[in-house]
Symmetry: C2
Subunit: 435 residues, 2 copies
């Protein structure tokens, strides 16, 4: 580092604004280790407490982006647009959205993450597809993108390496909840993908990273402002995460839900979010004049089976077994698959996504620690959603478990997470707002 | 740790008040390493940004005190009172104050620090005394205290070990400037000495840790409140550090100033601060009814040579060469000793303690880094103080240097640090306030 670390940290501590070159210097210290752990922890906390100006957040984002390889896809003339979600329970949108948008002529270079806690990760879901590889080299990633219009990559040590250390440090040091730090973490990785535009899915609700709507809105606005000042086109949806998305929770079960969706059988909320995000991507990419036209195009491509073809092509290119499209049993199954019944008649008064996400983790379908192994087959398939009428003894959900004991433990918690009562509640719209 | 570190850190980040057991848990993590560097850095910064309540500061202080050995001096029936200064340039008070107060029947178990930057350290000054040992065992420390009424110990790994790691971490992570952290660092070490009372010398001015008077007052008040809630008697003086204290700056030169003071030849400011601090210590110890009576007692003991005898006894017990009392040349001398003359006639318009302290460091008499070696012989002896009239060519100060080049470099800076002009400025009182 050129500057004295303690001086820069103290400047942020005292509410000062760091210059772009000072922030770049801190990021260089993150990467080469000249900024020690205690210094990084103190800096991150100073940002949590005192925030960052728009200029600081942009400088941090660009510094982190430039800490590693920044991809370019010069051979591909199509617009390159990606989507990022702040994460939720049942959020398998990327698996459907990427082939959908690629079918419409937008290239989607998508680097996704693994799940942690109750929030699933796209890479874990893809890992449930027999043979599918997400550990592509940078060259392979570009080749797949060129050939089928989208490519899926697991987090690469070459892209935005500063974020890797900062993220791990934030996780243990109570410095996760900071809009400038969340923004720079998300955008630095996305900008390193070599995209022209990004659509953000900022989730809001009990199982979202941002539970309160005003926090989610603030994050959405900061991401949009920072992305624009970094030179990418950006749009954002604020979407509901007070209810799981779709019906399937658990990696292989969610892939089956996607395979069925490709065949035209898609839960309404999943369909809505996917089409709305896709429409924004087409507009950003300049291949549709407005969201309405974009949506019509996407619906047609989906219905005509073009999206399924693109998905099949990508599956082939990334090593997956294409037979799964016709035979979902190739994904395997958990030993114990049994319905959980409603204890009484009435209406489903809640479907608590946080509780259900934690049940899936405890079934073995998610990680408590980053090093945990995942059982792809376990999970929950909802048979009822919020407000649905249900008879006593009728299935609320089907639980897929590794053992009967695990099934029983899940059953008890599932019944508590999906209370049945007199009140018929209505789910709020899945797309709450857009920016 | 019993609690999850990130949860406790986030609580402080969000402005919450940590419970005593939560703070004790954090301190245990500091000592056993289960609180990692990044977590410690983040916690310290959260305290810098959000402060601590009185109860939190007291809990932190007690937790840090109890992180190691807490001394007891049960064999000694005298009151046990110590003094702590926040540090300054020319502050050799402890060397004179300890025998002074001990002569009046107050036991002084004094653990002192080393110097860093422009601020000197008592342990470095004592190291200029041939043979004098401050690396006593805990048992030796108690024995010396019992036999001569005071004992001097360098920082021990056994006392308040939590502070050692926290202090080192604060130093590199921009988290030094926090009143609760400064308070707990000072008091935890002092309370571990096994004292009944403490007199604080909070310095204020350009060369002080607290430059602004309101910051110094805030620190003084927090230390007093925290010390009292931790069960020790406490008093504090706010003293001037806009001017060096006494005339000698540099370790052996300051010891000579003390030896001369024991013989009755003491600069007025040094005499004033020492007697005022000593008077407070006697009152806290219950051996004088009020500061005025205490001061009269101390002046008599000093004048009668009793203080010199106590100093001699301690010197003997801690391995020092007692002949230095009569032969100051035994302390050795720097190769180059030459006066720096006033460039013009007039009045000394400033004696910049920060600049002079840095000159001493650069002469080799202080440390830039904690690992630096010190040359005990180099330094400055002022011949003029603020407001003194001076003729052109008359000595402003005598510089003791290792080489002529070092002397010349010091001369240039000394002339700048002691400008001579038309204006006759008056020094503010050395004792600014008391609490």
């Amino acid at each position: 580092m050129k500057h004295h670390p303690a001086r820069l940290i103290a400047k942020k501590r005292d509410g000062g604004e760091l210059a772009a070159d000072e922030i770049a210097d801190l990021v260089s210290g993150v990467v080469d280790g000249t900024l020690g752990d205690a210094q990084l922890g103190a800096f991150l906390m100073a940002v949590c407490c005192n925030g960052m100006t728009a200029a600081e957040t942009a400088a941090l984002t660009l510094g982190m982006r430039d800490s590693g390889v920044v991809l370019r896809h010069d051979r591909i003339s199509k617009p390159k647009i990606d989507k990022h979600s702040t994460g939720g329970v049942g959020d398998k949108v990327s698996l459907l959205l990427a082939p959908l948008v690629a079918a419409a002529g937008v290239a989607v270079p998508m680097v996704s993450g693994r799940g942690l806690g109750h929030t699933g990760g796209t890479i874990d879901k893809l890992a449930a597809l027999p043979g599918y590889r997400t550990d592509l080299s940078i060259t392979e990633f570009g080749d797949v993108l060129e050939q089928c219009g989208y490519a899926m990559l697991s987090p690469s040590a070459e892209l935005a390496p500063a974020d890797r250390r900062m993220y791990a440090t934030r996780d243990i040091s109570g410095t996760v909840e900071s809009i400038p730090l969340i923004t720079s973490s998300i955008l630095s990785k996305k900008l390193a993908e070599g995209i022209d535009g990004l659509v953000m899915d900022v989730k809001c609700g009990r199982a979202a990273f941002m539970q309160r709507e005003d926090d989610a809105r603030a994050l959405m606005e900061t991401i949009c402002a920072t992305g624009r000042s970094a030179g990418v086109k950006i749009a954002a949806l604020l979407t509901d995460m007070d209810h799981p998305l779709g019906l399937a929770l658990g990696n292989a079960l969610e892939v089956v839900e996607i395979l069925e969706a490709l065949d035209g059988n898609c839960p309404e909320d999943l369909r809505e979010v996917t089409l709305e995000l896709g429409a924004e991507m087409l507009v950003l990419g300049g291949v549709a004049v407005d969201p309405r036209a974009a949506r019509a195009t996407l619906e047609r491509l989906w219905q005509d089976g073009v999206v399924r073809q693109v998905f099949r092509h990508n599956l082939e290119l990334q090593g997956g077994d294409v037979r799964v499209l016709d035979d979902h049993t190739l994904l395997g199954r958990a030993p114990v698959i049994e319905a959980v019944s409603a204890p009484r008649a009435g209406f489903v008064e809640d479907v608590d996504p946080l509780a259900l996400g934690q049940v899936v983790v405890d079934l073995g379908g998610g990680r408590r620690q980053p090093s945990d192994a995942i059982d792809p087959h376990v999970g929950i398939v909802l048979q009822k959603q919020l407000g649905d009428p249900v008879a006593a003894g009728e299935p609320l959900a089907i639980v897929h478990a590794a053992t009967t004991a695990a099934w029983e433990a899940a059953r008890v918690r599932l019944v508590a997470a999906m209370p049945v009562g007199e009140e018929r509640r209505k789910r709020r719209p899945v797309v709450l707002d857009r920016a």
